[in-house]
C-alpha cells in the first residue's frame, strides 16, 4: 500500500488575502495579527464603524489603561495599510474553496466581488436580559446587569451616590446555567457596589460558575467586603414589583424574606444572531446554543469543518478577553501554516475523480463534510487538493465508483482483503477495518501492551471509517472471513464529523442484507473506541472471536 507521505507532490498557488468578518474586538485583533504576518486583510463590519461598544469594558472588566490599549488597537487597524476596512458591509455569497474563495460583499445594496484564501469569522456576543424568566418587568428598582454596571461606572458619580445606604439584591444562575463570564460581571458589580457607603449586597445564586482564573479570589473579596450569598436549588420567590424576595435558607434552615431597594437581574451572554446565516452561507456546521463549531475536540480551538474557514472568540464559545486573544493567536498560526508564502505542496493523488465515470449526480458534493468539492464548467466534480482531508466518504458514497483516495485505492484494499484470509488454519479469520485515527492506534496499543488478541485477527487501516465501503465488507466475507469488525471513533469524535455515521449506516445496510439471506448478523460488528483504548480493542476482538467459535466457520469459507 502506498502511503500519502511518500506520495507524489505538486505545487499549487493560493490566494493569501484574508477576509475577517466582524469589526469588534475579536475581529480587530484578528485583522491586526494576520496583517502582522504579512498578509492583506479585508475587514468587514455590518455596522457603520469598527470598534467595540461601551458595554465591552464592563463585560471584560478592563481598567482605564487596558481600555486605552484596546482603543489604540482600533486606531492601528484603521491606519494599517495591509488592512482594508469595509463598514456597513455584509457577506452575501461565497463559492470556491480555501486558497480560492470568491466572496460577494454587499454595501448598501451594492454588490462587490472579492477573492480571498482564508475566511475568519469573528462575531460578537449578544447580551440578553433575563428579567422575563423571573416574571419581572424592568423598572426603577428592577435593573438589568448592564444597567447596574452603568450606575457603577467609574465616571458615573451620581449613579454611585444613588446606591448609598441601599440594599441591592442580585439574582443569577436560575434562568440559565451560565458561564464564569456572567458570574464575574455580577461579582465585579458587587465589589464596586460595596465601595459605596452603606450599600449592602445580597446574591441569590444557583451554581456559582467560578471556573476561570482569579474568580474564586474575587468571590472571597466580595464576601470579605460584606456581601451575603444565598445558594439556592431553585429561584427564590420574587414579588412581581421586585420589592420582596422570599426563600428558604438551607444554612439557617428557615424561611427568609428580603426587601431590596434594587434588584439586579442576570443577563445571558449569547451567540450572535448572525451566526446561523453565516453558517448556512459558508457551509459550516452550527454547534450547540447558536455558536459556530461543533463540539468536536479535533476542531478545538478555532477550526471549522471547512479548511480555510476559522471561527474565533465569541463566534464559537463564551470566552473572556485573554481566551479570545488565545483563540486569535491560534488562528493566526494556523493561517500562517495554511497560506505560507502563497505556494503549497499538495499530494497529487489526494482524491481523484475519474471524469469519464462522473455523471454529475452531486452525491459527493452533498456528502463531503469539509465542503471540499465543487464542479467545473464541464459539469464534472472537482475535489480541492487543499480543502480535501482524504477521509474517503465521497469515494465510498459515489454510486459510479468514480473517486479514488491516494494511498487507499479500492483495488489496493481489495488485494489487502484477499491477503488477510489464511486458508488451512483453524483459527477464525477476523478482518478489522480500522480508522487510522482511533481504532488502528488502539490496536497497536493492545499489541504493544501484550493484551490478548485473536490469533486470526487481521487489521486493515482506513483513512476514516467513512472509507469503509459496503463492497469491502462483502468482499471480506466472500473471500472467506469468518467475522468482520468495523472499528472507528465515537460519535462526535470523527475528524470528518460523519465518517463514523456513514460507516454505521453501511454496517446497518449489510446487516439487513444478511437478514434477508440468512447469514449470521453477529459476524459483522460496528465498534467505537478511542486511540487510547487498547483494552477495549482487545475485548471487542476477543468477543468477536468467541462469537465465531460458537457459530463455527462462515458458510462462505472454502
Amino acid at each position: 500500500m502506498t502511503d500519502m507521505i511518500n506520495a507524489e507532490m505538486e505545487e499549487i498557488n493560493i490566494n493569501t488575502e484574508v477576509l475577517v468578518i466582524g469589526g469588534g474586538l475579536t475581529g480587530l485583533k484578528a485583522a491586526s495579527e494576520i496583517a502582522a504576518s504579512g498578509y492583506k486583510v479585508s475587514l468587514i463590519e455590518k455596522e457603520s464603524d469598527i470598534g467595540f461598544q461601551k458595554e465591552t469594558n464592563y463585560l471584560f472588566s478592563v481598567n482605564k489603561k487596558e481600555l486605552a490599549s484596546l482603543e489604540k488597537l482600533i486606531r492601528q487597524v484603521k491606519k494599517n495599510n495591509k488592512i482594508e476596512v469595509f463598514t456597513q458591509t455584509q457577506i452575501k455569497g461565497v463559492t470556491g474553496v480555501t486558497g480560492d474563495f470568491n466572496v460577494t460583499l454587499s454595501k448598501e445594496n451594492e454588490l462587490k466581488g472579492k477573492k480571498v484564501g482564508v475566511i475568519i469569522i469573528a462575531t460578537n456576543f449578544s447580551v440578553e436580559p433575563m428579567n422575563e424568566k423571573y416574571g419581572l418587568s424592568l423598572s426603577e428598582n428592577v435593573l438589568t446587569q448592564s444597567q447596574m454596571e452603568e450606575l457603577l461606572a467609574p465616571d458615573n458619580k451620581s449613579g454611585r451616590e444613588k446606591l448609598a445606604n441601599k440594599t441591592v439584591a442580585f439574582v443569577v444562575g436560575f434562568a440559565q446555567d451560565g458561564y464564569p463570564l456572567v458570574m464575574e460581571r455580577v461579582m465585579r458589580s458587587v465589589l464596586a457596589a460595596e465601595e459605596t457607603d452603606g450599600c449592602n449586597a445580597y446574591v441569590y445564586a444557583g451554581d456559582l460558575k467560578v471556573a476561570s482564573d482569579g474568580l474564586e479570589m474575587i468571590y472571597k473579596d466580595t464576601r470579605d467586603n460584606g456581601a451575603t450569598y444565598f445558594k439556592l436549588k431553585e429561584a427564590p420567590n420574587i414579588n412581581p414589583d421586585g420589592k420582596t424576595i422570599s426563600f428558604y435558607d438551607d444554612v439557617l434552615r428557615r424561611d427568609m424574606e428580603l426587601s431590596p431597594d434594587l434588584l439586579v437581574v442576570e443577563e445571558a451572554v449569547c451567540a450572535d444572531q448572525s451566526n446561523e446565516g453565516l453558517a448556512e452561507l459558508l457551509r459550516i456546521d452550527m454547534g450547540p446554543l447558536g455558536f459556530l463549531q461543533k463540539d468536536n475536540v479535533h476542531l478545538f480551538p478555532v477550526c471549522s469543518n471547512r479548511e480555510g474557514i476559522f471561527v474565533v472568540g465569541a463566534t464559537r464559545e463564551v470566552q473572556d478577553l485573554p481566551l479570545i486573544w488565545t483563540d486569535v493567536e491560534n488562528m493566526s498560526l494556523k493561517v500562517k501554516n495554511l497560506l505560507g508564502d502563497g505556494t503549497r505542496m499538495v499530494p497529487k493523488e489526494k482524491a481523484v475523480v475519474d471524469t469519464g465515470k462522473c455523471v454529475f449526480c452531486l452525491t459527493c458534493y452533498r456528502c463531503c463534510p469539509h465542503g471540499a468539492i465543487y464542479w467545473d464548467e464541464d459539469n464534472k466534480a472537482v475535489i480541492s487538493k487543499i480543502a480535501c482531508q482524504a477521509c474517503g466518504i465521497c469515494a465510498s458514497e459515489c454510486p459510479m465508483d468514480a473517486i479514488q483516495i491516494g494511498g487507499f485505492k479500492d483495488e489496493d484494499i481489495k488485494v489487502q482483503i484477499q491477503k488477510c484470509i489464511e486458508t488451512g488454519n483453524n483459527e477464525p479469520n477476523i478482518i478489522a477495518f480500522c480508522c487510522q485515527n482511533s481504532a488502528f492506534e488502539a490496536g497497536e496499543m493492545a499489541e504493544a501492551f501484550n493484551m490478548p488478541l485473536p490469533a486470526g485477527l487481521k487489521i486493515i487501516k482506513v483513512p476514516c471509517a467513512g472509507k469503509v465501503d459496503i463492497d469491502y465488507i462483502l468482499s471480506a466475507f466472500v473471500n472467506g472471513a469468518d467475522g468482520v469488525l468495523v472499528m472507528t471513533c465515537h460519535s462526535g469524535n470523527c475528524k470528518s464529523e460523519q465518517g463514523n455515521t456513514f460507516a454505521n449506516m453501511r454496517v446497518g445496510d449489510v446487516h439487513r442484507m444478511f437478514e434477508v439471506t440468512g447469514f449470521e448478523n453477529d459476524r459483522l460488528k460496528y465498534v467505537t473506541l478511542a486511540s487510547n483504548m487498547g483494552q477495549d480493542f482487545s475485548s471487542a476482538a476477543i468477543d468477536m472471536e468467541r462469537k465465531i467459535k460458537e457459530l463455527g466457520p462462515s458458510a462462505l469459507r472454502n
Binding site: L215, E216, G287, Q293, P322, N437, N532, G534, Q535
Partner: protein
C-alpha cells in the same frame, strides 16, 4: 528574518510542552524538549477516554495524537529524565542540564511503564534491585542519555505543568489508608487499564460510588483560593461513562457548585441529573466497614442533620496545584510567580507572557486548564515565540 538556526527550549513534556514543541517544529524551529520523568505525555497521557456511546470532548485522545506527532518529528530533540541545572545568558541562552532522580514511587517492582504505545521507551528500570526480571526492550534509567549542556537557545517555553493535590492532606477521607478511597487521577488510570471502574480491594465493579468535589480546590483553610476548572468535567464525565457501561451503578456527587463541562453543558447536565444524585454538601469524614465498604458522614440537605451512608468506593476529585518545582524554576528562569504559586502573566490579556522577555509559559504552569485549554494556550505560546524571534511568514 528566516527561521533557520532558531532554537527554542521547551521545558516539560506534558500536553502543553508537546503541543508547543510540535507547533514550533512545524514553523521550522529546532526544539529541545526537556522532560523530568522517563516518559512524555505528563498527566494527560494517563487519562482515560470518557466517551459513552458518544464523545464527551474530554480531550484524552488529543494527548495521544500529539505524542504521536512529537515522537515522529525530527526537528524535536527529546531529553528524558533531564532537569535544568543552570541558565547562562550571554546573548543567547546556554542551559546546563542534569539527570533527574528516578521516580520510583510510580514504579511497580522497580519498573516504570509508559501509558501510550508511542512512549519511547515504554519500560524503564528505575530500581534494579527490586526488579526481579527485566523484560525485553526495557531501558535502564542510567542508560537514558544525558546531554550536559545546550547552547544558542533563542527562547524558552516553560510548560512544566501542575501537581495533583495530595489527598492525604484531607486526613478525614483516609486516602492511602482505606483501599477503596481513590483520587480522580487514580480513577482515570483504573479506567484506562480496565476499561471500566473496578474497586482496588477486589477488582470488582462497585455498586455505589460517591464523588467528592473540590478536594484541595476552593479551600480557604488550605489557602487554595482557586477553582481547578477540570474536576467537575472529569468527575461528571467518568460518572456518566460508568453509568453507561454499568447502568446498575448508583452514583452520588457531593459538590459546592457544579462547573460547566463542554460546549453543550445544559444538555449534558440534565442527563447527569437524571442519571445520578447530586448532594450540595461536602462530606465530613469516612471510615471503612465490613466488606471493604466505606461509611460516610455528611449533612443532610433536608433537615441539616448528620447522615451516615455506605458506599463501595469513594472518588476524591482532587484539583490542580502549582508544580512542586515552581519556586525553583522561578529562580532559575528569573520569572515571577503569582499569589497562588502559579506563574504570573506580565500582560493580563496575554497569558503566555512572563516578567522576562524571551520566556513564555504554556499550560497549567500558568493556572488550572483542561487538555483543550492547555493545547490552545501552548499554541498561543508558540505564536508569541515566533513574534519574539521576529519571524513573520
Amino acid at each position: 528574518m528566516s527561521t533557520a538556526n532558531k532554537k527554542v527550549m521547551v521545558v516539560g513534556g506534558g500536553i502543553a510542552g508537546l503541543t508547543a514543541a510540535w507547533e514550533l517544529s512545524q514553523l521550522n524551529i529546532d526544539v529541545e524538549l526537556i522532560e523530568k520523568t522517563c516518559f512524555l505525555g505528563g498527566y494527560a497521557i494517563q487519562f482515560c477516554c470518557k466517551a459513552t456511546d458518544e464523545c464527551v470532548t474530554c480531550g484524552a485522545c488529543s494527548a495521544e495524537d500529539m505524542l504521536y506527532n512529537v515522537v515522529n518529528e525530527p526537528k524535536i530533540k527529546v531529553h528524558l529524565a533531564t532537569e535544568i541545572e543552570k541558565i547562562n545568558k550571554n546573548g543567547k541562552l546556554s542551559v546546563s542540564l542534569k539527570k533527574s532522580s528516578p521516580q520510583t514511587d510510580s514504579a511497580e517492582g522497580g519498573l516504570a511503564k509508559g501509558y501510550s504505545k508511542n512512549n519511547s521507551p515504554l519500560l524503564v528500570v528505575v530500581d534494579k534491585s527490586s526488579c526481579k526480571k527485566i523484560p525485553d526492550g526495557a531501558v535502564a534509567f542510567d542508560d537514558i542519555e544525558l546531554v550536559n549542556k545546550i547552547d544558542d537557545i533563542d527562547a524558552v517555553v516553560l510548560a512544566s505543568g501542575f501537581n495533583p493535590f495530595n489527598a492525604e492532606i484531607k486526613g478525614t477521607y483516609g486516602y492511602h489508608k482505606f483501599n477503596n478511597v481513590v483520587t480522580g487521577l487514580d480513577l482515570e488510570r483504573i479506567i484506562r487499564k480496565n476499561g471500566v471502574v473496578v474497586r482496588p480491594s477486589d477488582g470488582k465493579e462497585p455498586k455505589a460510588v460517591a464523588f467528592i468535589q473540590c478536594v484541595g480546590s476552593r479551600d480557604e483553610n488550605l489557602g487554595n483560593l482557586w477553582c481547578s476548572q477540570v474536576c467537575c468535567p472529569y468527575a461528571l464525565r467518568m460518572a456518566e461513562q460508568t453509568k453507561y457501561k454499568n447502568p446498575d451503578t448508583d452514583i452520588t456527587v457531593f459538590y459546592m457548585d457544579i462547573q460547566n463541562a463542554g460546549k453543550n453543558f445544559p444538555v449534558f447536565y440534565e442527563k447527569c441529573k437524571s442519571d445520578m444524585r447530586f448532594v450540595r454538601n461536602i462530606p465530613v469524614d469516612l471510615y471503612p466497614i465490613k466488606g471493604d465498604k466505606l461509611q460516610m458522614r455528611y449533612m443532610n440537605d433536608d433537615d441539616g442533620l448528620s447522615v451516615k451512608e455506605v458506599f463501595d468506593m469513594v472518588v476524591l476529585s482532587i484539583g490542580i496545584m502549582p508544580g512542586s518545582d515552581n519556586a525553583q524554576l522561578s529562580e532559575l528562569l528569573d520569572i515571577n510567580l503569582n499569589q497562588d504559586g502559579f506563574f504570573a502573566c506580565k500582560d493580563k490579556f496575554n497569558r503566555t507572557s512572563t516578567s522576562k522577555d524571551g520566556i513564555f509559559i504554556a499550560g497549567t504552569v500558568q493556572g488550572p486548564k483542561t487538555i483543550a485549554a492547555s493545547m490552545a494556550h501552548a499554541t498561543q505560546a508558540a505564536g508569541e515565540v515566533m513574534k519574539y524571534l521576529g519571524v513573520s511568514k
